[in-house]
C-alpha cells in the first residue's frame, strides 16, 4: 500500500484545489485505506461544523445610527478660530492706536491744518447745505497734524488696509460658507 496521505493534502482535496491527477490519486488511495478515510471524515466534519454556524440576528437596526453619522452636525456660524483672528485684529488695532496717540492728540486738541481733500468735501457739504436751506452751518474742518509727513500717513493707511484685508479674508470665507447651503457629500468625498 502506498504511503498515507498528508493532512494538508486532504484539506486541499476538500477545497477542490488539487489538480485532476492529484485528486485522482487521493481518491484511489482512499478507496483502500480506512485510516485515511477516517482522517478525511474528521476534516469533513470540521467543515460541516463551521458551515453549521447559524447567522446571528442583528437585534437593532443600525440604519439610523449610520445615517446620523453621515450627516454631520451643522457647523457653528463661524469656526472656533475666528475668535482668535478677531482678538488679533483688536490687539493690532489697539497697538496701532497707541503708537499713533502722540500724533492723534494734537488733532483732537484742534491745531488746525486743512487737508485739501477735507477742504473740498467741506466746501461741497457747505454748498449742499446752503442750497437746501436758509441756515448757514459752520462746518469745522477736519485737520491733520502737519508735522507728520504725508508718507507716514500713507504707510499707516496702507498698513490699516492690509490688516483689514488679511483679517477679512480669513473671516469671510467661512462666513460665506456657513451662509451658503453646501451638499453633504462634499465632506466625505
Amino acid at each position: 500500500m502506498a504511503e498515507h496521505i498528508d493532512e494538508w493534502v486532504f484539506y486541499e482535496y476538500l477545497d477542490e484545489v488539487l489538480d485532476a491527477a492529484a485528486a485522482q490519486s487521493v481518491a484511489t488511495h482512499l478507496a483502500s485505506c480506512p485510516s485515511c478515510q477516517e482522517q478525511l471524515a474528521r476534516q469533513k466534519r470540521l467543515f460541516a461544523t463551521l458551515g453549521s454556524l447559524p447567522e446571528a440576528p442583528l437585534t437593532i437596526d443600525l440604519t439610523p445610527k449610520v445615517m446620523g453619522r453621515l450627516r454631520p452636525q451643522p457647523k457653528p456660524f463661524l469656526p472656533g478660530w475666528w475668535r482668535w483672528v478677531l482678538l488679533g485684529e483688536g490687539i493690532a488695532a489697539a497697538a496701532l492706536l497707541l503708537l499713533l496717540l502722540p500724533t492723534i492728540r494734537p488733532l483732537i486738541g484742534g491745531v488746525s491744518f486743512t487737508f485739501p481733500a477735507a477742504e473740498i468735501s467741506n466746501q461741497l457739504l457747505r454748498f449742499w447745505v446752503e442750497m437746501g436751506s436758509v441756515l448757514t452751518l459752520t462746518w469745522p474742518a477736519p485737520s491733520l497734524n502737519s508735522a507728520v509727513p504725508f508718507i507716514i500717513w500713507a504707510v499707516i493707511l496702507g498698513l490699516g488696509i492690509l490688516v483689514g484685508l488679511i483679517g477679512n479674508s480669513l473671516l469671510l470665507p467661512p462666513l460665506l460658507r456657513s451662509l451658503s447651503p453646501t451638499p453633504h457629500r462634499g465632506q466625505h468625498a
Partner: protein, 191 residues
C-alpha cells in the same frame, strides 16, 4: 427603493442620494454584522464595527466598480476594519485574554429570534453548537481567524485570500492548515 438592484442603489449613492445608502445599510447590515461578529466575537463591538464599516463604504463608494457585486466588497471592508481593530487591541496591554475570549449575550439574542419550524430542543442544541464554534473561533490567533472567515464564510479562493490580506498564497495555505488543525482539535472533542 426596496426593489432596486445593488447597482442602482450604488449609482444613486454616488450621485449624492443618501436615502439610497440607507437602503444599502438596511440590506447588508445583517451580513456585515455577522462578519464582524465572527471576527470580533462580541456583539456590541460587532455592531460598532458594522457602523464604522458602512461609513468607510460610503466614503469609498465613488471608487466602487459597478460591474462587481456589492456584497463581497462590503464584507471585505468589514473584514479589514475588524482586522485593524483586533491588531490594535492586541497592541493594547490592558486587554486581557479573558476579556477577549469572554462569551457574550448570544443566547439571549438568539432567543429573541427563534428559527421558524424548529423544535425547542433543536434550537437549544443549535445555540450550543453556535456558541461552541464562536468560542473556538475566538480562541484562534487573529491571522488564523481571518483566513477561516475568508475561506469558510466568505468562500474566497486561496488566491483571493492572498490578495485580500496581501500575503503569499503559500502563507494562506499554511495559515489555513494551522487554523483548521487548531479548530479541529478544539471542536473535535465536543462534536
Amino acid at each position: 427603493m426596496l426593489n432596486f438592484s445593488d447597482r442602482e442603489l450604488v449609482s444613486r449613492v454616488t450621485q449624492g442620494d443618501e436615502e439610497a445608502f440607507a437602503w444599502v445599510v438596511r440590506r447588508y447590515q445583517g451580513v456585515m454584522f455577522n462578519v464582524a461578529y465572527r471576527l470580533l466575537g462580541n456583539r456590541r463591538e460587532a455592531e460598532d464595527a458594522t457602523q464604522e464599516a458602512f461609513i468607510r463604504a460610503y466614503q469609498a463608494m465613488p471608487s466602487f466598480d459597478l460591474t462587481r457585486p456589492l456584497s463581497p466588497w462590503l464584507k471585505r471592508i468589514t473584514t479589514n476594519l475588524c482586522l485593524n481593530w483586533l491588531e490594535k487591541e492586541r497592541a493594547r496591554p490592558q486587554i486581557t485574554v479573558s476579556e477577549l475570549t469572554a462569551p457574550d449575550d448570544e443566547v439571549g439574542a438568539l432567543e429573541q429570534f427563534p428559527a421558524p419550524q424548529v423544535s425547542p430542543e433543536q434550537q437549544v442544541s443549535e445555540m450550543e453548537q453556535g456558541q461552541r464554534i464562536r468560542s473556538a473561533l475566538r480562541q484562534l490567533p487573529v491571522r488564523y481567524r481571518v483566513v477561516i472567515e475568508l475561506r469558510h464564510y466568505q468562500e474566497l479562493s486561496y488566491e483571493e485570500i492572498a490578495a485580500a490580506l496581501d500575503i503569499p498564497v503559500s502563507t494562506v495555505k499554511s495559515d489555513l492548515f494551522r487554523a483548521r488543525k487548531q479548530l479541529g482539535e478544539r471542536l473535535e472533542s465536543k462534536l
